[in-house]
């Protein structure tokens, strides 16, 4: 039982905290969101320098052999900074998929490029009409003499507009497979848009897209377990990001309660608001506990235990984030619903986290369905 970060982890946390505070202020973030890419490519380079793009990869492939707790730490800091860079898409999801499902050659080619910040990836998996079902893939892959032909459409692919390559899930005869698809080749069309929280995504059409045999990640038809793992890992990362945001939002709100005056006193003197703030703090501490659980269990070899814990954490953290986000806005009054302050941006990002890779009800359902089985409490 140990709730401490290691010395190295603390050092990395400190580095990121200082970077966010000094070089990733709110106005900088606003400019980045408006730029063509929708994020800051120089920040991405800095991330590479910090090593966080190499974090979850094995040392043999240019990585740092980090675990999900390392990722938690990074995500919490990125959350505080409302970082727009597609870290989850490129590193956590696609990097993780290649690490878990790719061939040695693919890992050798791709992971160092991700780690170095030269290769950006996006995971084109969910489809319209499938909602959050992980195993629903209508996109098809047909083997032919040149490799594979892929047809289908993918919905709301996060990070796609800036991705060099897409990891596309598709069904062949046997099951679900993963293909590495260059975003610029014929047949691939993107309709890009910003997301509500200022990031970028795209709907992706794949019409007779021809890729070589080497585009197949790992072996054909066996990608589902790796996809499930990657999404659990990503959801654990989102939990940590949410906790970072909630902490920051509580700080901002507490400061507002202490400085905003009405009826001749700081509004933080009103007991109803004090108790609201107390509930926000409680929710955040509880969410932090669950995000910790998710991080520790995301690395578990037992898939059922991993999924159950991550589902529990995502459901709970989303509920907590809803309370904290909504109440931070409410306690700010009019200042909570304007674009000018960071409050509304934190709130929007928290809301979108809750709707990414499964909403609270979806994850509650996953967890609830395990209840008939015997378990220790966590």
């Amino acid at each position: 039982m140990d709730f401490n970060y290691t010395e190295e982890q603390l050092a990395l946390q400190d580095t990121l905290r200082r970077f966010i505070a000094r070089d990733y202020g709110f106005e900088h973030r606003r400019e980045s969101a408006k730029s063509t890419d929708g994020f800051d490519r120089s920040a991405w380079k800095t991330f590479a320098d910090f090593g966080i793009l190499a974090l979850p990869f094995p040392e043999g492939f240019g990585g740092l052999n980090g675990n999900a707790v390392d990722t938690m730490l990074v995500m919490e800091m990125l959350g505080r900074g409302l970082a727009l860079e597609p870290y989850v898409s490129t590193v956590v999801l696609c990097g993780g998929l290649i690490r878990d499902a790719g061939s040695t050659e693919q890992k050798e080619t791709l992971l160092p490029a991700v780690a170095g910040g030269e290769l950006m990836l996006a995971f084109a998996h969910f489809e319209s009409g499938s909602r959050y079902a992980v195993d629903h893939v209508a996109t098809t892959a047909t083997a032919n003499g040149h490799g594979w032909k892929i047809d289908g459409a993918k919905a709301v692919v996060l990070g796609a507009p800036s991705a060099d390559k897409l990891l596309v899930s598709a069904k062949d005869g046997k099951g679900i497979s993963l293909f590495l698809v260059d975003a610029k080749i014929p047949g691939v069309t993107l309709r890009a848009y910003p997301t509500q929280d200022g990031a970028r995504a795209a709907d992706v059409k794949l019409a007779g897209v021809q890729v070589g045999a080497d585009a197949l990640i790992g072996t054909a038809g066996n990608a589902l377990p790796a996809i499930e793992r990657a999404l659990d890992y990503a959801n654990a990362a989102l939990c940590a990001e949410a906790v970072g945001i909630m902490s920051a939002l509580n700080e901002v709100t507490l400061e507002y309660l202490k400085t905003r005056k009405q009826f001749g006193q700081p509004i933080g003197k009103f007991q109803a608001l004090q108790h609201r703030m107390a509930d926000m703090v409680i929710a955040t501490e509880q969410a932090r506990s669950m995000a910790t659980l998710a991080a520790v269990r995301a690395d578990s070899a037992d898939a059922a235990e991993r999924s159950r814990s991550v589902a529990a954490a995502k459901a709970y953290v989303t509920q907590s984030a809803r309370l904290v986000g909504q109440q931070a806005v409410q306690l700010h009054g009019g200042m909570g619903v304007v674009d000018e302050l960071n409050v509304s941006h934190y709130f929007k990002r928290l809301t979108m986290i809750g709707l990414t890779f499964g909403d609270a009800d979806y994850h509650l359902g996953r967890f609830s369905d395990t209840l008939t089985m015997p378990h220790e409490c966590f």
Partner: protein, 402 residues
């Protein structure tokens, strides 16, 4: 005790429906039902159409050009308009400044202003809140100094809704700093074209320009634009705040949005079946529908009792505000949640009436586009018009005597 409408009320409802079918322009209802951006011209055109029918001011006495309808009739009208997709009639002229002008204005003011409110030719906005005075309205500092035949106004108002279109603003201004803060406030009507007025947009969290700051720099306001007596403005302000009653619960609009929520949940699929067949999500709809059923009846109880003039408005107005805003917020949240992945895209162009939809996205992404923005935007409903915390203060202190 009867929850059914009388035959006359049913006939009245039919009359309203007939009018809406005949006169509500399809291009306007398309925008309202689709959650598109409503233009100034839409609001004005609808007000003109209502005025032509003699229904421009449903809550006013007939003597001032109103319909003289009772509260239940007004409720039926509101409900049908919402259901048909008529734009909301903005309250600033009709429900806020007009009752004050009728009650405390002089005949000249009544003749000058009221007809232009009914026929839609004057667009009004509100100058109450200031950066330093939100919930604590009486702390306002915008100064009006009497100089000969006019006041000179200096200061800043904020949370001014749609003032970028306004012809007139009604303002609370400080005309005295002596005695209790409430004693030195006056109620002024100010022509927005007067030199020295600057309107600066405030962008909301959904990216829209709906509110403003209004700056006054040596703005000259003729004395004849003072309502009632100098330094009595707080009385008129409280009258105004307590006056708006029908419609505060927003039952008609929430019923429309509930219907829309069910439509979305019937379209969106999960595991190959409509989302509404998923018990977990359906229960969430059921829960908000229960709240809305209760609120609809509570609302009718309140307006029936008022209609009979048996008693003064009670704590019910605050109950209606609290529950009404919470239900609006729950509905917009569930609409967003229903969308799944398509809650994420921010497609500003989808707010335009002539957006053709996007062949890239599935059909439902068309109606989906504005919904997350609505959820964000509707967080304002528990903040504005006296925050829900202030409403709970009112219930506990004014009514319960705590």
């Amino acid at each position: 005790m009867d929850l059914n409408f009388t035959t006359e009320e049913q006939l009245f409802r039919e009359e309203v429906r007939g009018f809406l079918r005949a006169k509500l322009p399809a291009e306007i209802s398309h925008k309202v039902l689709g959650g598109k951006r409503i233009e100034k011209s839409d609001f004005v055109r609808w007000q003109q159409l209502l005025n032509e029918q003699g229904w421009g001011a449903i809550a006013w006495p007939e003597a001032f050009g109103g319909t003289g309808w009772n509260a239940v009739q007004q409720h039926i009208f509101d409900e049908e308009c919402a259901d048909a997709g008529a734009p909301m009639q903005l309250p600033f002229g009709l429900k806020m400044v007009a009752p004050v002008i009728m009650e405390f204005g002089n005949p000249a003011q009544q003749q000058r202003f009221l007809p232009h409110i009914v026929d839609g030719s004057d667009w009004w906005c509100q100058g109450y809140s200031e950066p330093g005075s939100g919930s604590d309205l009486a702390s306002l500092t915008t100064r009006a100094v009497r100089e000969g035949d006019h006041y000179t106004v200096n200061g800043q108002k904020t949370w001014n809704t749609l003032g970028q279109y306004a012809d007139w603003i009604f303002c609370l201004v400080r005309t005295s700093t002596e005695g209790r803060r409430q004693k030195g406030i006056s109620f002024l009507l100010i022509d927005m074209k007067t030199p020295g007025i600057t309107v600066r947009p405030i962008i909301m969290l959904d990216g829209e320009h709906e509110i403003n700051e209004v700056w006054f720099e040596d703005v000259r306001v003729p004395l004849e634009n003072l309502i009632g007596e100098e330094n009595k403005g707080w009385t008129y302000a409280k009258f105004l705040l307590g006056h708006e009653r029908t419609g505060i619960a927003g039952v008609g609009r929430s019923k429309r949005e509930l219907k829309k929520l069910k439509e979305i949940a019937a379209t969106e699929t999960t595991n190959g079946r409509p989302l509404i067949e998923d018990q977990r999500f359906r229960d969430r709809i059921a829960q908000v529908e229960l709240e809305l059923m209760a609120l609809e009846i509570t609302n009718l109880r309140v307006i029936s009792a008022e209609g009979e003039k048996k008693r003064a408005p009670g704590p019910e107005a605050s109950i209606l505000k609290i529950k009404g805003s919470e239900i609006q917020q729950m509905l917009s949240e569930l609409q967003m949640q229903a969308l799944g992945h398509y809650a994420l895209p921010y497609t500003e162009e989808a707010l335009e009436a002539d957006w053709p939809g996007d062949p890239w996205m599935p059909d439902y992404a068309d109606y989906a586009a504005p919904l997350s923005g609505h959820y964000f935007n509707y967080r304002k409903t528990s903040i504005y018009g006296g925050s829900n915390e202030i409403q709970r203060n009112i219930i506990s202190q004014m009514i319960l005597g705590l």
